[in-house]
Amino acid sequence: MNFCINQKDWVARGAAVLALAGAAMSGAPAYAATQGTIGATSTGSVAITATVPNRARISGLTDVAFTSVDPAVDAASSQGPCVWSNTATRKYTIVASGSGTTSAFTLTDGTVAVPYSVGWAATSGATTLTSLATGTASAAFTATGTNITCSGGADSTLKVSILAGDLQNMVATNSYTGTLTLVVTPQ
Protein backbone atom coordinates (compact mmCIF):
# COMPACT_ATOMS: atom_id res chain seq x y z
CA MET A 1 0.00 0.00 0.00
CA ASN A 2 1.28 3.43 -0.76
CA PHE A 3 0.08 6.94 -1.28
CA CYS A 4 1.31 10.28 -2.38
CA ILE A 5 1.70 13.56 -0.59
CA ASN A 6 0.87 16.85 -2.23
CA GLN A 7 2.71 19.94 -1.20
CA LYS A 8 1.49 23.42 -1.88
CA ASP A 9 3.92 26.29 -1.95
CA TRP A 10 3.62 30.02 -1.59
CA VAL A 11 0.39 30.10 0.34
CA ALA A 12 -0.43 33.65 1.35
CA ARG A 13 -3.24 35.48 3.02
CA GLY A 14 -3.89 39.08 1.99
CA ALA A 15 -5.53 40.30 5.17
CA ALA A 16 -2.45 39.51 7.18
CA VAL A 17 -0.27 41.28 4.61
CA LEU A 18 -1.92 44.62 5.19
CA ALA A 19 -1.55 44.42 8.96
CA LEU A 20 2.13 43.61 8.73
CA ALA A 21 2.73 46.26 6.08
CA GLY A 22 1.51 48.99 8.39
CA ALA A 23 3.73 47.83 11.19
CA ALA A 24 6.77 47.53 9.00
CA MET A 25 6.39 51.01 7.55
CA SER A 26 6.86 52.62 10.92
CA GLY A 27 10.59 51.91 10.85
CA ALA A 28 11.23 52.97 7.28
CA PRO A 29 11.87 56.55 6.13
CA ALA A 30 9.47 58.26 3.74
CA TYR A 31 10.57 59.07 0.21
CA ALA A 32 9.05 61.04 -2.66
CA ALA A 33 10.21 61.97 -6.13
CA THR A 34 12.23 65.16 -6.49
CA GLN A 35 12.95 67.04 -9.70
CA GLY A 36 16.31 68.35 -10.77
CA THR A 37 17.04 71.96 -11.56
CA ILE A 38 19.01 73.20 -14.54
CA GLY A 39 22.73 73.62 -13.99
CA ALA A 40 26.15 72.17 -14.59
CA THR A 41 24.80 68.99 -13.04
CA SER A 42 21.25 68.09 -12.15
CA THR A 43 19.96 65.61 -9.62
CA GLY A 44 16.52 64.10 -9.17
CA SER A 45 15.28 61.18 -7.17
CA VAL A 46 12.56 58.57 -7.30
CA ALA A 47 10.92 56.83 -4.39
CA ILE A 48 10.51 53.07 -4.75
CA THR A 49 8.15 50.97 -2.69
CA ALA A 50 7.17 47.31 -2.75
CA THR A 51 5.17 45.15 -0.42
CA VAL A 52 6.22 41.57 0.04
CA PRO A 53 3.19 39.45 0.98
CA ASN A 54 3.14 36.71 3.55
CA ARG A 55 4.58 33.58 2.09
CA ALA A 56 5.24 30.03 3.16
CA ARG A 57 6.70 26.98 1.56
CA ILE A 58 6.59 23.32 2.41
CA SER A 59 9.15 21.15 0.72
CA GLY A 60 11.14 18.01 1.14
CA LEU A 61 8.10 15.76 1.19
CA THR A 62 8.45 12.19 0.01
CA ASP A 63 5.91 9.53 -0.81
CA VAL A 64 4.99 7.12 1.95
CA ALA A 65 5.03 3.43 1.16
CA PHE A 66 4.05 0.77 3.69
CA THR A 67 5.38 -2.55 2.49
CA SER A 68 5.46 -5.94 4.15
CA VAL A 69 3.55 -4.58 7.09
CA ASP A 70 2.89 -6.83 10.07
CA PRO A 71 -0.85 -6.49 10.72
CA ALA A 72 -0.32 -7.45 14.33
CA VAL A 73 1.25 -4.11 15.20
CA ASP A 74 0.60 -0.51 14.29
CA ALA A 75 2.42 0.74 11.21
CA ALA A 76 4.01 4.18 11.12
CA SER A 77 6.17 6.15 8.76
CA SER A 78 7.91 9.39 9.63
CA GLN A 79 9.73 11.84 7.42
CA GLY A 80 11.40 15.22 7.74
CA PRO A 81 9.91 17.89 5.51
CA CYS A 82 10.78 21.56 5.69
CA VAL A 83 8.51 24.53 6.23
CA TRP A 84 9.60 28.09 5.66
CA SER A 85 7.55 31.17 6.52
CA ASN A 86 8.52 34.75 5.77
CA THR A 87 6.49 36.44 8.47
CA ALA A 88 8.27 38.25 11.24
CA THR A 89 7.26 35.53 13.69
CA ARG A 90 7.95 32.67 11.24
CA LYS A 91 4.67 31.13 12.33
CA TYR A 92 2.39 29.07 10.18
CA THR A 93 -0.61 26.79 10.37
CA ILE A 94 -1.04 23.57 8.48
CA VAL A 95 -4.12 21.97 7.02
CA ALA A 96 -4.02 18.32 6.00
CA SER A 97 -6.58 16.74 3.72
CA GLY A 98 -6.93 13.15 2.68
CA SER A 99 -8.27 11.75 -0.56
CA GLY A 100 -11.11 9.85 1.05
CA THR A 101 -14.75 10.81 1.27
CA THR A 102 -15.05 14.38 2.61
CA SER A 103 -11.25 14.55 2.59
CA ALA A 104 -10.92 11.72 5.04
CA PHE A 105 -7.50 10.28 5.80
CA THR A 106 -8.09 6.95 4.11
CA LEU A 107 -6.45 4.58 1.69
CA THR A 108 -8.49 2.44 -0.59
CA ASP A 109 -8.15 -0.47 -2.93
CA GLY A 110 -11.30 0.64 -4.68
CA THR A 111 -13.52 -1.26 -2.32
CA VAL A 112 -12.41 -0.87 1.23
CA ALA A 113 -11.36 2.41 2.86
CA VAL A 114 -8.65 2.08 5.46
CA PRO A 115 -8.16 5.01 7.83
CA TYR A 116 -4.81 6.43 8.83
CA SER A 117 -3.79 9.24 11.13
CA VAL A 118 -1.48 12.20 10.57
CA GLY A 119 0.84 13.84 13.05
CA TRP A 120 2.95 16.95 12.69
CA ALA A 121 5.75 18.61 14.63
CA ALA A 122 7.75 21.74 13.89
CA THR A 123 11.04 20.07 14.72
CA SER A 124 12.95 17.43 12.87
CA GLY A 125 12.98 13.91 14.26
CA ALA A 126 10.22 14.62 16.75
CA THR A 127 8.59 11.75 18.62
CA THR A 128 5.82 13.83 20.15
CA LEU A 129 3.57 15.16 17.43
CA THR A 130 0.38 17.13 17.11
CA SER A 131 -2.45 15.10 15.64
CA LEU A 132 -3.99 16.76 12.58
CA ALA A 133 -7.70 16.59 11.76
CA THR A 134 -8.60 16.62 8.10
CA GLY A 135 -9.49 20.03 6.73
CA THR A 136 -8.86 21.78 10.02
CA ALA A 137 -6.11 24.32 10.49
CA SER A 138 -3.66 23.41 13.19
CA ALA A 139 -2.55 25.69 15.96
CA ALA A 140 0.32 27.90 14.88
CA PHE A 141 3.73 26.31 14.57
CA THR A 142 6.98 28.23 14.35
CA ALA A 143 9.26 27.41 11.46
CA THR A 144 12.91 27.12 12.29
CA GLY A 145 14.07 27.14 8.70
CA THR A 146 15.35 30.57 7.68
CA ASN A 147 16.06 29.70 4.08
CA ILE A 148 13.32 29.28 1.50
CA THR A 149 15.19 26.41 -0.10
CA CYS A 150 15.64 24.75 3.28
CA SER A 151 19.33 24.40 2.70
CA GLY A 152 19.62 23.70 6.39
CA GLY A 153 17.67 20.49 5.96
CA ALA A 154 14.49 19.21 7.52
CA ASP A 155 12.91 21.27 10.27
CA SER A 156 9.63 19.38 10.75
CA THR A 157 8.26 15.90 11.23
CA LEU A 158 5.36 14.31 9.41
CA LYS A 159 4.13 10.97 10.70
CA VAL A 160 1.53 8.75 9.06
CA SER A 161 0.17 5.84 11.08
CA ILE A 162 -2.20 2.94 10.50
CA LEU A 163 -3.59 1.08 13.45
CA ALA A 164 -3.10 -2.67 13.62
CA GLY A 165 -6.84 -3.17 13.72
CA ASP A 166 -7.19 -1.34 10.43
CA LEU A 167 -4.31 -3.24 8.89
CA GLN A 168 -6.11 -6.43 9.69
CA ASN A 169 -9.04 -5.32 7.54
CA MET A 170 -6.85 -5.05 4.47
CA VAL A 171 -6.72 -7.82 1.94
CA ALA A 172 -3.30 -9.22 1.30
CA THR A 173 -1.74 -8.45 -2.08
CA ASN A 174 -4.24 -5.67 -2.71
CA SER A 175 -2.76 -2.23 -3.19
CA TYR A 176 -4.24 0.57 -1.10
CA THR A 177 -3.50 4.09 -2.19
CA GLY A 178 -4.43 7.62 -1.32
CA THR A 179 -3.13 11.16 -1.30
CA LEU A 180 -2.41 13.42 1.63
CA THR A 181 -2.40 17.14 0.84
CA LEU A 182 -0.69 19.58 3.18
CA VAL A 183 -1.26 23.33 2.97
CA VAL A 184 0.80 25.66 5.10
CA THR A 185 -0.35 29.22 5.66
CA PRO A 186 1.95 31.88 7.09
CA GLN A 187 0.75 33.59 10.21
Binding site: M25, S26, A47, A50, P53
Partner: protein, 173 residues
Protein backbone atom coordinates in the same frame (compact mmCIF):
# COMPACT_ATOMS: atom_id res chain seq x y z
CA UNK B 1 69.85 96.19 -41.87
CA UNK B 2 68.13 98.67 -39.59
CA UNK B 3 64.88 98.39 -41.54
CA UNK B 4 65.08 94.61 -41.39
CA UNK B 5 65.65 94.60 -37.63
CA UNK B 6 62.70 96.91 -37.18
CA UNK B 7 60.48 94.61 -39.16
CA UNK B 8 61.53 91.64 -37.07
CA UNK B 9 60.87 93.61 -33.92
CA UNK B 10 57.41 94.55 -35.14
CA UNK B 11 56.64 91.01 -36.14
CA UNK B 12 57.79 89.74 -32.76
CA UNK B 13 55.69 92.31 -30.98
CA UNK B 14 52.67 91.36 -33.03
CA UNK B 15 53.18 87.67 -32.22
CA UNK B 16 53.40 88.46 -28.51
CA UNK B 17 50.26 90.56 -28.67
CA UNK B 18 48.38 87.87 -30.56
CA UNK B 19 49.52 85.21 -28.11
CA UNK B 20 48.45 87.35 -25.18
CA UNK B 21 45.12 87.96 -26.85
CA UNK B 22 44.61 84.28 -27.48
CA UNK B 23 45.41 83.47 -23.85
CA UNK B 24 43.05 86.19 -22.72
CA UNK B 25 40.25 84.94 -24.96
CA UNK B 26 40.77 81.40 -23.79
CA UNK B 27 40.68 82.50 -20.18
CA UNK B 28 37.47 84.40 -20.76
CA UNK B 29 35.60 82.21 -23.21
CA UNK B 30 36.40 78.65 -22.19
CA UNK B 31 34.81 78.93 -18.75
CA UNK B 32 31.89 80.65 -20.37
CA UNK B 33 31.52 77.86 -22.88
CA UNK B 34 31.80 75.23 -20.16
CA UNK B 35 29.25 77.07 -18.12
CA UNK B 36 26.94 77.10 -21.10
CA UNK B 37 26.73 73.29 -21.01
CA UNK B 38 23.78 72.76 -18.77
CA UNK B 39 21.72 69.73 -17.90
CA UNK B 40 18.46 69.00 -16.18
CA UNK B 41 16.66 65.87 -15.08
CA UNK B 42 13.00 66.17 -14.33
CA UNK B 43 9.60 64.61 -14.79
CA UNK B 44 10.57 61.84 -12.41
CA UNK B 45 7.79 59.81 -10.83
CA UNK B 46 7.71 57.52 -7.86
CA UNK B 47 7.81 53.80 -8.55
CA UNK B 48 5.32 51.80 -6.51
CA UNK B 49 5.23 48.06 -7.06
CA UNK B 50 2.33 47.54 -4.68
CA UNK B 51 1.93 44.06 -3.26
CA UNK B 52 4.11 41.62 -5.13
CA UNK B 53 2.75 38.33 -6.42
CA UNK B 54 2.52 35.65 -3.78
CA UNK B 55 4.02 32.94 -5.92
CA UNK B 56 7.08 35.08 -6.68
CA UNK B 57 8.20 33.18 -9.75
CA UNK B 58 8.75 36.22 -12.00
CA UNK B 59 10.78 39.38 -11.66
CA UNK B 60 8.77 42.51 -10.92
CA UNK B 61 9.66 45.34 -13.30
CA UNK B 62 8.44 48.93 -13.41
CA UNK B 63 9.63 51.85 -15.50
CA UNK B 64 9.52 55.61 -15.20
CA UNK B 65 9.60 57.84 -18.26
CA UNK B 66 11.48 61.04 -17.52
CA UNK B 67 13.24 63.96 -19.12
CA UNK B 68 17.02 64.25 -19.38
CA UNK B 69 18.08 67.53 -20.97
CA UNK B 70 21.56 68.58 -21.98
CA UNK B 71 22.73 71.62 -23.85
CA UNK B 72 25.94 69.90 -24.91
CA UNK B 73 26.41 69.99 -28.66
CA UNK B 74 27.22 66.29 -28.55
CA UNK B 75 23.80 65.62 -27.00
CA UNK B 76 25.70 63.43 -24.61
CA UNK B 77 25.36 63.27 -20.87
CA UNK B 78 26.54 61.10 -18.02
CA UNK B 79 24.23 59.38 -15.57
CA UNK B 80 25.27 58.53 -12.03
CA UNK B 81 22.81 56.79 -9.71
CA UNK B 82 22.89 56.27 -5.99
CA UNK B 83 20.52 54.14 -3.99
CA UNK B 84 19.36 54.77 -0.45
CA UNK B 85 20.92 51.57 0.81
CA UNK B 86 24.20 51.20 2.62
CA UNK B 87 27.08 52.65 0.56
CA UNK B 88 24.52 53.91 -1.97
CA UNK B 89 23.37 50.36 -2.69
CA UNK B 90 20.28 49.82 -4.77
CA UNK B 91 18.20 48.33 -2.00
CA UNK B 92 14.91 48.93 -0.25
CA UNK B 93 14.36 48.57 3.46
CA UNK B 94 11.46 47.82 5.77
CA UNK B 95 13.36 49.21 8.69
CA UNK B 96 15.11 45.99 9.55
CA UNK B 97 15.53 43.99 6.37
CA UNK B 98 16.70 44.94 2.91
CA UNK B 99 15.51 44.04 -0.57
CA UNK B 100 17.99 44.56 -3.40
CA UNK B 101 16.85 45.76 -6.82
CA UNK B 102 18.40 46.33 -10.21
CA UNK B 103 18.32 49.73 -11.95
CA UNK B 104 18.77 50.37 -15.65
CA UNK B 105 18.87 53.49 -17.78
CA UNK B 106 17.69 53.90 -21.35
CA UNK B 107 18.04 57.11 -23.34
CA UNK B 108 14.68 56.61 -25.00
CA UNK B 109 11.22 56.71 -23.44
CA UNK B 110 9.08 53.60 -22.92
CA UNK B 111 12.11 51.33 -22.92
CA UNK B 112 11.88 47.93 -21.27
CA UNK B 113 15.61 47.30 -21.06
CA UNK B 114 18.60 49.56 -20.70
CA UNK B 115 22.14 49.89 -19.50
CA UNK B 116 22.53 48.48 -16.01
CA UNK B 117 23.47 51.08 -13.45
CA UNK B 118 26.00 50.59 -10.69
CA UNK B 119 25.90 52.85 -7.63
CA UNK B 120 28.25 55.82 -7.98
CA UNK B 121 29.46 54.73 -11.41
CA UNK B 122 28.69 57.03 -14.33
CA UNK B 123 27.45 55.75 -17.63
CA UNK B 124 27.26 57.67 -20.89
CA UNK B 125 24.02 58.34 -22.67
CA UNK B 126 22.81 60.43 -25.57
CA UNK B 127 19.60 62.33 -25.43
CA UNK B 128 17.11 61.92 -28.18
CA UNK B 129 15.68 65.39 -27.69
CA UNK B 130 17.13 68.71 -26.55
CA UNK B 131 14.34 71.02 -27.57
CA UNK B 132 13.92 72.34 -24.06
CA UNK B 133 14.90 71.52 -20.54
CA UNK B 134 11.50 70.20 -19.52
CA UNK B 135 10.69 68.04 -22.52
CA UNK B 136 7.54 70.04 -23.05
CA UNK B 137 7.25 68.97 -26.64
CA UNK B 138 6.65 65.54 -28.04
CA UNK B 139 5.97 62.71 -25.64
CA UNK B 140 7.18 64.68 -22.66
CA UNK B 141 9.98 62.25 -21.90
CA UNK B 142 13.14 61.12 -23.57
CA UNK B 143 14.59 58.57 -21.18
CA UNK B 144 13.52 55.62 -19.05
CA UNK B 145 14.51 54.51 -15.60
CA UNK B 146 13.89 50.78 -15.24
CA UNK B 147 13.69 49.16 -11.81
CA UNK B 148 13.65 45.40 -11.47
CA UNK B 149 12.98 43.34 -8.35
CA UNK B 150 14.42 39.92 -9.12
CA UNK B 151 12.19 37.06 -7.95
CA UNK B 152 15.22 35.47 -6.36
CA UNK B 153 15.76 38.56 -4.21
CA UNK B 154 12.11 38.74 -3.19
CA UNK B 155 11.75 35.03 -2.47
CA UNK B 156 13.49 34.86 0.84
CA UNK B 157 12.77 38.22 2.44
CA UNK B 158 10.53 38.85 5.38
CA UNK B 159 7.03 40.04 4.60
CA UNK B 160 6.41 43.75 4.83
CA UNK B 161 6.55 47.02 2.93
CA UNK B 162 9.96 48.00 1.65
CA UNK B 163 10.85 51.51 0.58
CA UNK B 164 13.84 53.46 -0.61
CA UNK B 165 14.92 55.94 -3.22
CA UNK B 166 17.26 56.19 -6.13
CA UNK B 167 19.02 59.49 -6.78
CA UNK B 168 20.09 60.23 -10.33
CA UNK B 169 22.59 62.88 -11.29
CA UNK B 170 23.24 63.82 -14.88
CA UNK B 171 26.14 65.89 -16.19
CA UNK B 172 27.21 67.05 -19.64
CA UNK B 173 29.35 64.62 -21.53
Amino acid sequence: MKASNGARLRASAIRRIMTAFAVLMAAVLLPALAHAQQVRINRLNDIAFGTLAANGTSDAVLTDNLCAYTSALSLGYRVTARGSGSSSAFSLSNGGNTLAYVAQWASTPNATTGVQLTPNVAISATTSSTLNSQCLLGSGANATLIVRLPAANVAGVTAGTYSGSISITIAPN
